[in-house]
Amino acid sequence: MECFIHASCGSTSGSVAMFCLVSRLFTPPFLTAASMVVSSRSYADFTPEATFDIKKVDLHRLEEGPPLTATLTREEGLKYYRTMQTIRRMELKADQLYKQKIIRGFCHLYDGQEACAVGIEGGITLSDHLITAYRAHGYTLTRGGTVREIMAELTGRRGGIAKGKGGSMHMYTKNFYGGNGIVGAQVPLGAGVALACKYLGNDQLCVSLYGDGAANQGQIFETYNMSSLWKLPIIFICENNQYGMGTSVERSSASTEYYKRGDYIPGLRVDGMDVLCVREATKFAADHCRSGKGPILMELQTYRYHGHSMSDPGVSYRTREEIQEVRSKSDPISMLKDRMLSNNMASIEELKEIDIAVRKEIEDAAQFATTDPEPPLDDLCSHIFATDQPFDVRGATPWTKLTSTS
C-alpha cells in the first residue's frame, strides 16, 4: 500500500524543499496496515515541525475516530525520544541489577511498551489521574517520578519513591495511584478516582489501565456498568501485549477484540507501538470524557520484549524469532528515531548525545540505588495508620514490641 504525503517544512532560509517518497511496510504477525513517512531535505535548521500519517484506528460505537495525521514538533520529538529511551534503559538496568540479586522480589519490566506510557502522557496533563497494574515503572516516570527514586525503590532503599516500603508494584506520585498487585483490582479504583473528579467538578479525568490478561476479570465489567451509568470521566485502556503471563490472547479470551468488550462503551483499537498514534487516540478519548459523554475504552496493541517478570525467560510460550521480528520492525524508539531523522528534525549526533546522557543518568541512579542505606528498623511498623498517636505493635513474639508512628 502506498500513499503520497506532504510534509510541511518551515525552513527559515526558504530553500527549496525536495519531496521524496519513502514507504515502509511493517508486517509483524498481528499488525496489518502500514505507516507512511515522507522525508524532506533542508540545508539549514532542523525542521521544527512535521506531520505524519498514522495508522487508522478501529472504532466501536463511534462515528468518527481520532485524526489520521499527527503533528510532531521537534521539542516534543526529542522529549518523547528521551523519555522512551530512559524507560528502556531503566528497565534494562533493572534486569541487570535483578540478575545480580541487588533487586529482589517481583520485577515486571516494561521495555517494548514505552510508546504506551509516553503517548498516553502526551494526551493528558499531569493534573489528570492515572492508575495501572504491576508493570508500573514506565508510568511512575511519566507521572513525575525520577529514575533515582524508582531504582532506589526497586532495591528497597530509603531514597526510594515509597521510602523502600512499596517495592516494584507500589510506587505512587501525585495523581498516580500505583502500582497494584491484584490483577484487575485497579480498574474499579480508577473509576473511584473518576467519581471523585466528577464529584469535585474539576474537569479532570482518570486513565485506568489493565492488560489483556486482566480484561476478563468480572470487576472490570462491574466497573464498565457503573461508570457508564454514572457517566464517569474515565478512559479504560487495555494494554494488549498479546500474552497474559504465559497465556496468549487466543488461549485466554473467547473474544480478543478487547476494544469491543465494553459493549455499550465506545472503543478504539490503536497501534500501541507508535507513540503518535497513542497520543492522538488519548487526546480523542480525553475530549470524549471531558465533554461529559462518559467512559471510553482504548485497546493498545503492543508487545513486551521481556517475559512476564524476571522469573520468566519469556520463550517457553513464544518464539525468539517473534520477539526479534517485533524488535526489528516495530520498535517504538526506532520508529520515532527514523521519523525524526528522515524529516531532519534531529541529527544522529544529537540523538546519540541524548543516549549518552540517558545512560549516564541511569548509571548514576543505579549507583545511588545500590549504595543508599536501607530503611531503618523503626520504619518497619510506621505508617500503619494515618494521623494517629504512636502505639505499640506486637512483634513476632508476644514480648517483642515495636512502635508505630503515622
Binding site: 507500589h170 483490582a185 474499579p188 479504583l189 471523585a196 505508617h383
Partner: protein, 349 residues
C-alpha cells in the same frame, strides 16, 4: 432448660431476649443504685439530656451530622438512597442530600467497594455500605487491600474510608448471619469496630468517618430497633459494675452479658459487664486483657465472642460455674482466670 440448684425454675420474667427497657429497669437495683445514680448525676452536671434513641436512628444521626459537616463525605451502597436503606439506617438522607451524595449502586460489591476506595484515594471520604457483611466477601480484596496503601506508599496515600453494615446473627435466619469481626480484625491497618448501644454506635461512626484510615464498622441488625439512652458525651465503657466476674464482649453479646449478669445477681454473684467495642483486633484484645488484669487482682475474666443464641449457653455456663465450682469470691485468689467462649466452629451460610 435452666433450673436453680434446688430444682425450682427461674421465674418467667427472666427474659432471654433483648428488651432494653427491661434491663434498664432491672439495671437499677438497690446495690447498683448508687453507681447508676452517679451516672445520671454526672449527666445532669454536664447539663446534657438523656433521651432514648435506637441504634438505627443513632447511626442515621451520625451520618447526617457528618454529611452536613464535611462536603467530601458521601454514602454509597445498595438501596441506600431511594429505599432509605435496606435496614432504614439511611432514612431521609437521600431526600436531604440528593443523588450526588447518596448513591444507589447496582448489586456489584467488588465494583462499588473498589470505586469507594478509589474515591478515598482521590480525597473524598466515602461511607461504603454493605447490605450485610456476608456480601462483603465478594469485595474482601478491596476492603483488605485498602488497608495496605498507606503503609506501602510510606504515608503518601491515606485512605479515609468507612465500610459499614450489619454483622452477625439475626432472628430465625440460617443464611447471611455470619460474624466477620475476627476475619477483618486480623488485618493490620484496618480498624474494626463493633458497637452495641446507641451512644457507642453514634460516637464510633462519627469517629470512623473523621478518621483518615479505613474503618470496618459492624453493627448488629437486631440491635437497630433497640432504644438506649443517648447523651451528648461518650459514656463510660463499663455498663455494669461488679466485683466477682468481669464479662467482656462486643456487639449484641453485650446484651446477653447483661442478661446473664441480672440472672447471676439473684444468686449473689456480681458481674461487671464491659464493652470491648474499640477494636476486635487480636493484639488490642491482649492489651485490654492486660489492662484489666492489672487493676483486677482477683476474679474471673470471661470474653464472650459468640454471635448466635449464646445467651442460653452463657447463663447455663455461668450458672454451672457458680453452683458447681466455688466462685463466691475467694479473695485469696492471686491469679486471674481467663475463659474465652466463642461460636461453635461451624460455618453457616
Amino acid at each position: 432448660m435452666l433450673h436453680r440448684r434446688d430444682g425450682s425454675r427461674f421465674p418467667p420474667d427472666v427474659t432471654l431476649g433483648i428488651q432494653a427497657k427491661e434491663f434498664n429497669l432491672g439495671f437499677i437495683r438497690p446495690d447498683n443504685l448508687v453507681s447508676h445514680g452517679l451516672r445520671v448525676f454526672r449527666c445532669l452536671l454536664s447539663s446534657v439530656s438523656l433521651f432514648q434513641v435506637n441504634v438505627q436512628d443513632a447511626l442515621n444521626q451520625a451520618m447526617d451530622e457528618e454529611l452536613e459537616r464535611d462536603e467530601r463525605v458521601f454514602l454509597l451502597g445498595e438501596e441506600v438512597a431511594q429505599y432509605d436503606g435496606a435496614y432504614k439506617v439511611s432514612r431521609g438522607l437521600w431526600k436531604k442530600y440528593g443523588d450526588k451524595r447518596i448513591i444507589d449502586t447496582p448489586v456489584t460489591e467488588m465494583g462499588f467497594a473498589g470505586i469507594a476506595v478509589g474515591a478515598a484515594f482521590a480525597g473524598l471520604r466515602p461511607i461504603c455500605e454493605f447490605m450485610t457483611w456476608n456480601f462483603s466477601m465478594q469485595a474482601i480484596d478491596q476492603v483488605i487491600n485498602s488497608a495496605k496503601t498507606y503503609y506501602m506508599s510510606a504515608g503518601g496515600q491515606p485512605v479515609p474510608i468507612v465500610f459499614r453494615g450489619p454483622n452477625g446473627s439475626s432472628a430465625g435466619k440460617l443464611t447471611n448471619i455470619y460474624c466477620f469481626a475476627a476475619w477483618y480484625g486480623h488485618c493490620p491497618g484496618l480498624k474494626v469496630v463493633s458497637p452495641w448501644n446507641s451512644e457507642d454506635a453514634r460516637g464510633l461512626l462519627k469517629a470512623a468517618i473523621r478518621d483518615d484510615n479505613p474503618v470496618v464498622f459492624k453493627a448488629n441488625e437486631l440491635m437497630y430497633g433497640v432504644p438506649f439512652d443517648l447523651s451528648e458525651e461518650v459514656m463510660p465503657k463499663v455498663e455494669r459494675q461488679g466485683a466477682h466476674i468481669t464479662l467482656v464482649s462486643h456487639s449484641r453479646c453485650v446484651g446477653f452479658c447483661l442478661d446473664a449478669a441480672a440472672v447471676l445477681a439473684k444468686e449473689g454473684v456480681e458481674c461487671e459487664v464491659s464493652i470491648f467495642t474499640l477494636s476486635a483486633r487480636v493484639c488490642e484484645l491482649a492489651t485490654f486483657q492486660l489492662q484489666v488484669k492489672q487493676w483486677r487482682r482477683r476474679g474471673w475474666l470471661l470474653f464472650l465472642w459468640a454471635t448466635n443464641k449464646l445467651c442460653y449457653f452463657l447463663i447455663f455456663f455461668l450458672h454451672f460455674i457458680c453452683t458447681y465450682i466455688s466462685v463466691s469470691v475467694s479473695y485469696d485468689q492471686k491469679e486471674l482466670l481467663d475463659i474465652r467462649t466463642a461460636t461453635t466452629h461451624l460455618k453457616l451460610g
